[in-house]
């Protein structure tokens, strides 16, 4: 749908996740407007634990809606340094605010420059057509 937004200051993956550079070697990860719209009402999010080692492209959690379930992937190699615990009680924020309070986890990438290898907003929206 036309009203779905893809902020230009974020990076994106083929798995429909966004990655934001938080500075100080930390990136924040969530799912895109397209992903939350395709899933429908998100009712349960299973996140990795702080301290977990994650590998780019490998599953590290799940996002479940009333009608389907989708794996959550780590966009980069690194270590999980924070997770959004508020999603336990309010999973619907993934739908209402996917780039804000619906964020999922933060990692400290082992290669700080790896984020530059991800798609920018134009490349991602191009991939949706």
């Amino acid at each position: 749908m036309s009203e779905l937004q893809y902020p230009a200051d974020l990076r994106y993956t083929e798995d429909h996740e966004w990655v934001a550079d938080k500075g100080e070697g930390v990136v924040r990860v969530g799912i895109t407007a397209y992903a939350q719209d395709a899933l429908g009402d998100v009712v349960y999010v299973s996140l990795p634990s702080v301290g977990d080692s994650v590998t780019a492209g490998e599953s590290c959690g799940e996002v479940e809606s009333t009608k389907s379930v989708s794996d959550l992937y780590s966009p980069l190699d690194g270590e999980v340094v924070a997770v959004n615990d508020t999603l336990d009680a309010e999973p619907g924020t993934v739908n209402s605010d996917p780039y804000g309070s619906g964020w999922m986890f933060e990692i400290r990438p082992s290669d700080a420059s790896a984020i530059d290898g991800l798609m920018d907003a134009d490349a991602y929206t191009g991939s949706l057509d």
Binding site: M1, G40, D41, V43, Y44, S46, E62, E64, S65, T66, K67, V69, D88, G92, N95
Partner: protein
């Protein structure tokens, strides 16, 4: 796959921006924007929702002796009801497997109206037509009638706003007229709420849909898709053919024996079902309620706390009313209500308690 058939309301669904999906060969709305399954589900539980279920089959069986003929084929006993009433029943094969579950509306001894599932209508009609004696005519009327469901505590207000009759007994129906158009108002549904299913002529469906949505607006009623219909029926433990009932899952296993007329002389599958009932089924459908987070889905394996395989989930979903996962599962017969079991959800073992459905209180007969 052949092209999906279209509801008479297809243009309305697309104009509303509904997400469409295939249901038994029909392109039907799953959910509408601004609603979503949870919001639509809640509208039905608390206020009112309008569903297009025109994909459901329609068939007629007419001619002298039509009621006795159908009664000798389908599982439930039509002699328990009178004209003007509807009955839930099953069309079984000789092995006791379920070809389809359906509602039979008795208009008269010689005039029955059937609403089977979309994907099974042709097969039910074929079996009945093949068995029908001379003088009894079985006809597939799938695209002659539309079905709109008005479900929820405010459904009487919405239906009566159109000048239609309301407040008849649960599982009964009235022939009525709306602005000169013939209509059947049935006190039936698949949500567990008080509600109605309106059977109109195919060509009258657009005007009826618009009028119902307008009448529902003051009560904050919503158009509801088949996604919400599925979460609503699962909360009630109502079986869905193809998942909880099938050619492999008999009514005895599905604990739908209440819809079998055991005392009738004959019906399709009687011998096999009576034998299975007497010997005890090898597996039985029971409800599961998850104690923690996570959602069971169809085909998830159910295990005992010791790891023994007990069976599998046939329908599972997130219950918007309870805020937790619920399921129907076919399990070994010695599993009992109150038992704690584990559901294998993609490799994670989630604790569940065997719970008798409905998971949410039934309101179909409430005022």
């Amino acid at each position: 796959m052949s092209e999906a058939k279209l509801s008479p309301l297809d243009e309305r669904h697309r104009a509303l921006g509904a997400k469409m999906a295939d249901f038994g060969g029909w392109a039907m709305p799953i959910e509408y924007p601004g609603g979503g399954v949870v919001r639509e589900h809640t509208a039905v539980r608390e206020r009112v929702g309008i569903f297009d279920v025109s994909h459901l089959g329609k068939a007629t069986v007419q001619g002298e002796g039509a009621l006795d003929f159908v009664n000798a084929c389908l599982s439930n006993d039509l002699r328990k009801i009178e004209p003007g009433k509807a009955q839930y029943t099953m069309c079984c094969d000789e092995s006791g497997g379920v070809v389809d579950d359906l509602i039979v509306y008795v208009k008269a001894e010689d005039d029955l109206f059937l609403i089977p599932n979309a994907a099974n209508t042709a097969e039910v009609v074929r079996r009945l037509a093949e068995a029908a004696p001379e003088g009894i005519n079985v006809r597939d009327a799938h695209e002659e009638f539309a079905v709109l469901a008005v479900q929820g505590p405010k459904s009487d207000e919405v239906v009566s706003a159109l000048g239609l009759p309301v407040d008849h007994d649960y599982m009964s129906f009235d022939e009525a007229e709306w602005e000169g158009r013939p209509l059947t108002v049935c006190r039936t549904g698949y949500t567990g709420e008080r509600g109605y299913e309106l059977v109109s002529r195919w060509e009258d469906a657009l005007a009826l849909w618009d009028a119902l949505l307008e009448a529902a607006a003051p009560y904050e009623g919503l158009p509801c898709g088949l996604g919400a219909r599925d979460t609503l029926r699962t909360e009630m433990g109502y079986p869905l053919h193809g998942q909880d009932l099938s050619l492999e899952i008999t009514p005895v296993q599905a604990r739908a024996g209440w819809a079998v007329g055991w005392k009738k002389d004959s019906f399709w599958g009687k011998d096999a079902l009576a034998k299975e009932k007497a010997e005890g089924p090898r597996r039985i459908s029971r409800g599961l309620k998850l104690t923690g987070r996570g959602i069971p889905r169809a085909h998830c394996v159910v295990r005992s706390t010791e790891g023994e395989e007990l069976g599998e989930v046939t329908s599972g979903t997130f219950s918007p009313t309870l805020g937790q996962g619920v399921a129907l599962a076919l399990m070994l017969p010695d599993v009992a209500e109150g038992d704690t079991v584990a559901v294998d959800v993609r490799g994670r073992l989630l604790e569940a308690v065997v719970t008798k459905p409905p998971f949410v209180e039934v309101q179909t007969r409430s005022n």
